[in-house]
């Protein structure tokens, strides 16, 4: 199976953005490049998927600062807010073709960073953020995606000395990890590392069609999962997790969720009881993808022991048949036999592992996987930014000062 939409265009866009980022933040004999040559990235206000109140502005400001410290030219804050208001764009959880085109014209950016705040709890402290970079082109492409899920007692260590007591510290660690990941991607084109797998998080019941064997390069559209939980936005969270895991497979091209959302709205597709074959065919044709992934999430809970329960199905465009179906459910203490060793503390970290196992068992062709590259060494400035950020207050500080001191990253 070949990629329906031009995969080469995606690769080209990724290459251009990576090159531009590398050029923009790259070192030219220790002299920072002029601002005009650097890639501009718009940072959208984070999409709040927590289901409650969350300090999205603080997260946005912290991420802006962290990216700027790593040499990324960021357009954020009031400038982006004015742009969104002027164009009557309200949804900031994804990038559709309209927004991408307008952002390129009005803000002069080459990429858009979309941030989804999935979990934010002060007591006990827990946080989960997923961020992605989307090209600001007429057909927005997903270039990079990474996520962080942390709990204060993730690494308690001996006598609980390693426990983190404040969510602000977790927030700082999370945004710095994401900013570093994006900078590394820009530097060497390296995809972010995935969450740990493990047999204990594998799907319980699976069906895999022979169609998937030797399927070659495929394109996938991930639809928001049906949400049967009491938690708001659980369907979007699970879908985003699958986008992240599928993006890590070299032979899979994952559509930007904004493009999927735009077509769902355009064709007024509603699937209260699951996606019908007609809707799958319609979306696959409109989005020009080979596979449509949909599913149902029945549990995504952080109360007590984290619990996640979902099912996922892949429908192939040509035959209109299900080529993969699975049911997964796990708790954070599955397979834990000795004290709390190996316990997963957040449902998001658990969902990440479960989604990864599902994608692994789908068994996409990974022959296109390139040889692993050596991790690009960050230069002293970036390393210093990493160190400084560990001690810095996460709230927005004097960004103007920092922007003036940006130093490039050596490839």
């Amino acid at each position: 199976m070949t990629c329906s939409r031009s995969c080469s265009s995606r690769a080209a866009v990724a290459l251009v953005v990576a090159a531009a980022l590398a050029a923009g933040v790259g070192c030219a004999g220790g002299r920072p490049r002029p601002r005009e040559e650097r890639l501009r990235v718009a940072l959208l206000p984070p999409d709040n998927l927590t289901g409650g109140m969350a300090p999205v502005r603080e997260v946005e400001a912290a991420l802006e600062l962290a990216l700027a410290r790593r040499g990324v030219d960021v357009v954020a804050g009031d400038q982006v807010s004015l742009f969104l208001a002027a164009n009557r764009l309200r949804y900031t959880g994804a990038v559709d073709p309209l927004m991408a085109g307008l952002a390129h014209e009005a803000l002069g950016v080459d990429g858009i960073v979309v941030t989804s705040l999935e979990l934010y709890a002060a007591s006990p402290p827990r946080i989960a953020i997923v961020a992605r970079l989307v090209s600001a082109t007429a057909a927005p492409e997903l270039l990079w995606i990474d996520g962080v899920a942390r709990a204060g007692d993730d690494t308690k260590g001996l006598l609980g000395l390693g426990a983190v007591g404040s969510v602000e510290q977790l927030r700082s660690e999370a945004v710095n990890a994401l900013a570093s990941s994006l900078a590394r991607f820009a530097n060497g084109g390296r995809q972010p590392s995935q969450c740990e797998g493990g047999i204990r998080f594998g799907p319980r019941v699976t069906f895999r069609s022979t169609w998937l064997e030797g399927s070659g390069t495929v394109s996938v559209a991930v639809l928001p999962f049906l949400n049967q939980t009491k938690r708001k936005n659980a369907g979007e969270i699970l879908a985003l997790e699958f986008v992240r895991q599928l993006s890590a497979v070299p032979s899979v091209r994952v559509l930007e969720p904004g493009a999927v959302r735009a077509d769902l709205l355009r064709f007024r597709v509603v699937y209260a009881d699951g996606v019908s074959l007609e809707n799958s065919r319609l979306l696959a044709a409109a989005l020009d993808v080979d596979l449509v992934l949909s599913g149902t999430v029945r549990e995504l809970s952080d109360a007590g022991t984290p619990r996640v329960d979902f099912s996922a199905a892949l429908v192939e465009k040509g035959s209109k048949q299900v080529v993969w179906q699975s049911t997964s459910y796990s708790t954070g203490t599955d397979g834990v036999v000795l004290f709390d060793f190996g316990t997963i503390r957040t449902s998001h970290a658990l969902a990440c592992r479960m989604a990864r196992k599902v994608v692994e068992e789908m068994g996409f062709d990974d022959r296109r996987r390139s040889a692993p590259r050596a991790a690009p060494a960050l230069d002293a400035t970036t390393a210093a930014a990493d160190r400084a950020s560990q001690n810095s207050a996460p709230a927005a500080q004097s960004l103007q000062k920092t922007q003036g001191q940006q130093a490039p990253i050596t490839p």
């Binding site: 319980r204 019941v205 699976t206 069906f207 049967q228 699937y271 209260a272 009881d273 699951g274 996606v275 019908s276 074959l277 007609e278 809707n279 799958s280 949909s294 149902t296 029945r298 329960d309 099912s311 199905a313 429908v315 048949q321 299900v322 179906q325 699975s326 049911t327 459910y329």
Partner: protein, 187 residues
Amino acid sequence: MRPRSLTALAVAAALAAGCGTARKRTYTDGEMDFGSVRTVAVLPFTNLTRDNLAADRVRDVFANALLATGAVYVVPQGEVARGAQQANLASPSPTPDEVMKLGKLLKADAVIAGVVREYGEVKSGTSTGSLVSLTVQMFETSTGKIVWSAASTKGGVTVTARLFGSSGPPLNAVTEAAVDDLLEKLF
């Protein structure tokens, strides 16, 4: 043989005989050629439990496990919902006419309907256990007749749980066991 031994033997024999007369809870139409069933639609199950999502959970596991056998193709749930809407199917327990209509709409050879009777935790003293009980029926879409029907109950408070105070396997594992039990009766 002493009279006391004879009495014990008689009691044991009576108990064994009583246990041995378990009623057969599976119906299979002898004239049905199950090899001709290639595509199956699983309707939403009727929920007789307090858990609002019990029927959806059990149906999902059942449909997925049936598909995973590789013996039949199971129509996706969304497509079944669309077909049920077009056929104006009001109840999850379809009439023969509705089964035939649904079969044509979904291009399915058989339709499966089910009832979830028990789904949740049960207590016995201080011990708890997960219990799942369900019944399923398969209808042939060309005639609307029931060609297979079976029931399964799994879980509950076990002797081990009573002795050691453990809670037994989780509900999802018990659901899988009940579904596997049903599929073993089918194939």
